[in-house]
Amino acid sequence: MVAIHIVDRRLNPGSKSLENRQRFLRRAKALVQQAVKKSSHERDIKDVLEGGEVSIPLDGMDEPRFRREGGTRDMVLPGNKKFIEGDMLPRSGGGGGKAGGAGEGDSEDAFRFVLSREEFVDLFLDDLELPDLAKRKLAEVESEGLRRAGFATSGSPANISISRTVSRAMARRVALRRPKPDEIAALEAELLVCDDEARRAVLLAEIEALKAKAKRIPFIDPIDIRYRRFETTPKPIAQAVMFCLMDVSGSMTEHMKDLAKRFYTLLYIFLKRRYRHVEIVFIRHTDRAEEVDEDTFFHGPASGGTLVSSALQEMHEIVRSRFRPADWNIYAAQASDGDNSTSDSEVTGRLLTEKILPVCQFFAYLEVGQDAGLTFEMPDSSLWSLYERLRLAGAPLSMRKVCERSEIFPVFHDLFQRRVRQERAP
């Protein structure tokens, strides 16, 4: 009998191909990225994060070989039913004369495969970057945190590291041969039962010596004591709040709300990747503003006039009460069809430039249009004109117009595209 080995490999680390897969993705990056963008147009924003199948053209990813094609071919096939020698079979199908079961051409012009969620989002947002506009200074302000930094010989009693101290003390006691209590106890026990005078004297002397030595070598010495040391380290601000402002007056249709929602979702995904913690505040407004939950925000009915300043005022209040600009990165995106009462313009402008923009990392205004509308035909609304004026005067505002679902991603991409830094110029 030959020896046989049966090995259970199931517990071996799987995904041996992971590195090969990463190499493949790296190589196909540009192609995959295009495919990801394209497929994200076709999907619902909600599903964008789900990863899934993409298809890339094979060009550049192919593995060429010398292949022959054409020419005269001979083949032997099974399953003859009615042919006899010398028959001529017409070429283009028909009568079972299938031209070539053997010739399955390589018509693999597109290559489909599945991306995981992480891979998809990575590629999706790869060339985007968060802008740091006016608040550069603020972005650099970092709070300080404490970090463990080893042990010290001095410190406050609250920071004594007991385990470290005790283990050092033990090492010292062992090194100096401090008599153990057991040894003394053993000698004392022997003394109790010992009758021989000479022996008793020896024992007594020995016990005395040991006790004296134990006294000289303390159980814990001040030199044993260690304190946990802490260092202060700058801690980056790792949280962000995103304000979604939306006009919900009667003139906003479901389609417009849908556009706005898609934009907010993209922004959320994007922020979520940059910050450990992202909060969202929904503020809807008619002629007065209120903070609402998400469902009400998108679906709750409301009617009334339109006062944009009310929403800005509400946002300002919330920032002041809950989100200290020093601790939070504040992003705001406003969606509206552009209606605003003329009398409100001045208040809105002032609120924006004086209160809102200084604390925001980024403020985007999205003007949404009718379903069938064309973006370039949208007339400048009152709000658009106002913001445009502010922007030209130097306010750090980003603004875009959108009519179609398919425009959302390009607009988003355009707003956050990684720009060549100009600050290197002196």
Binding site: M1, E63, F66, L77, G79
Partner: protein, 512 residues
């Protein structure tokens, strides 16, 4: 005969596998007289099976993006349910490693052990092609060395350079094979040692001074005669990778070693592509015999045996040419049918068989004949020797001749009748002949005195020319390795030039 049941129901554990193996081994040795490498059976998960698919079935392989591509592709089709996974993968190594999927039932594990661990294993160990071209003892160590070496090259020379070299080598892999055996049997362990020695030698001989010495005036060019030059370079040479490794003027030593690795691996797989029908036929025949015997001995219950028959039937299913599942001859079906047919001829021959196969008809010793067949034939010679008229009638084979110049259509050249048997058989045999399957491309000359232009020739058979896009791309890779211009001429057998390609080298990262 009543034997102890090997197992009950579909569940198995490791002692069961051991029992199954021992029972199969008993039959394989005593009854079939198989001679196998020691077995190593490894149980793996579906995910690991997918992994194995993508590194051409080998347990360890160097890293390259193309494997990742295959992985992504296969994973996608597996998830969609377009593709099932194999029940097993078996590796031609010693010990012979069989991978079994964990989700197989006990019956399937029995089938797979009989099929792979005995059928394929015997074939690997005894067939002349495998003996000639592969070194089962050394392959795993060599792959390990290859993986480490390529990883080390990536560290030393950068991933990009290694990737480009591998891309080019992979493109030429189908033409990196020695088709005629040399004097020595392959020994991959020695190969690995020699690689290490070469490196060591280079390092010990390295002296930076040589670089600084001014080169003297060019020595007088001694013009070699064309004949002499070709003889010196070993031309014509059809092993393109070998030629590049030995003669490409500006390759780095490590690049030559990479080409060598790819070449050795291509050579290792060379016999497998020539013995698909025989290899699967052998394994299927062996598992069929073993399973039947186990059932007769009562080691396999009727229910389990029915389960086996059901999957066996699926495996040897041969759809007709007009069936939508048809994709050529199923090697399992053809191979198994031929093995069984040989058994019939040996034991119960008819007059026709006596006439066609006088050597084996009625000989009586089935296993002796089959073992001899398994040892000494490859698909092409096997079909041309042993495909019987009866089997041609059974499969209702017919031979089509498709000449694009013929407008009337495709001609039925021969069918399964008295007039056609030999022609059908010859045509089928030829379709398994690597000499006809692979394009015949050779290096014919190098302009050594001039611009080092490398000249290749494709001898066109039956008017089948190279695919234009692919040929250009492969040639580009070839030029990148050669680092000077490369041209490829397509000639038909009369010497008429049909087409000419030229490629100029791009600057590779490694050369720059």
């Amino acid at each position: 005969m009543t034997g102890q049941r090997l197992f009950q129901g579909p569940d198995w554990d490791f002692p069961t596998l051991q029992r199954i193996h021992d029972a199969c081994e008993e039959i394989a040795h005593s009854e079939l007289g198989l001679n196998v490498y020691p077995n190593q059976i490894e149980v793996i998960t579906a995910e690991q099976m997918l992994d194995a698919y993508c590194s051409v079935g080998m347990p360890l392989f160097y890293k390259h993006w193309s494997f990742g591509k295959h992985f992504a592709y296969q994973q996608a089709s597996y998830r969609k349910g377009l593709m099932g996974l194999a029940y097993e993968i078996v590796i031609n190594s010693s010990p012979c490693i069989s991978y079994l999927m964990e989700e197989n039932t006990a019956t399937m594990q029995t089938l797979v052990i009989a099929h792979a661990a005995f059928g394929h294993n015997h074939f690997f160990k005894n067939n002349y092609l495998f003996k000639q071209w592969t070194d089962a003892d050394g392959i795993l160590d060599y792959l390990d060395f290859a993986k480490a070496y390529i990883a080390q090259c990536e560290d030393r020379h950068g991933r990009l350079a290694v990737e480009q070299t591998l891309d080019a080598a992979h493109a030429l892999m189908s033409h990196g094979i020695n088709r005629y055996p040399g004097k020595k049997l392959p020994d991959l362990r020695v190969e690995e040692k020699r690689a290490a020695q070469r490196r060591q030698h280079e390092e010990s001989m390295f002296n930076d001074l040589w670089r600084t010495i001014p080169t003297g005036p060019v020595k007088s060019v001694q013009t070699l005669s064309a004949e002499r030059r070709r003889a010196l370079l070993g031309l014509p040479q059809e092993n393109l990778l070998y030629f590049l490794e030995k003669t490409a003027p500006r390759l780095q030593p490590w690049q030559r070693e990479v080409l060598r690795i790819v070449r050795h691996i291509a050579q290792y797989f060379y016999p497998q592509s020539q013995t698909k029908v025989m290899n699967e036929g052998t394994a299927t025949y062996v598992h069929y015999r073993i399973m039947n015997r186990l059932h007769q001995q009562g080691q396999l219950s009727d229910g389990n045996f029915l389960e086996f028959l059901s999957s066996h039937t699926n495996v040897v299913f041969q759809p007709d040419f007009d069936n939508k599942y048809f994709s050529g001859f199923n090697p399992y079906a053809l191979g198994f049918a031929m093995m069984q047919d040989i058994e019939r001829i040996v034991t119960k021959p008819e007059d026709e068989d006596r006439e066609w196969f006088p050597d084996i008809a009625g000989k009586g010793d089935t296993m002796g004949v089959l073992r001899d067949v398994w040892a000494n034939y490859r698909d092409e010679s096997f079909v041309s020797q042993f495909l019987s008229p009866r089997l041609m009638r059974h499969f209702r084979m017919f031979h089509l001749h498709d000449d694009p110049a013929e407008t009337a259509g495709i001609k039925v050249e021969a069918i399964h009748d008295e007039r056609g048997y030999r022609r059908v058989r010859r045509a089928l045999s030829r379709s398994y002949d690597v000499g006809f399957i692979d394009a015949n491309i050779e290096v014919v000359d190098v302009d050594l005195a001039g611009d080092r232009h490398l000249m290749l020739r494709h001898t066109v058979l039956n008017g089948a020319q190279l695919n234009d896009t692919d040929a250009k791309r492969v040639l580009q890779h070839l030029a990148d390795l050669w680092t000077y211009n490369v041209s490829l001429v397509e000639q038909d057998t009369t010497g008429k030039v049909l087409k000419e390609y030229v490629a100029n080298p791009r600057g590779l990262a490694a050369v720059a």
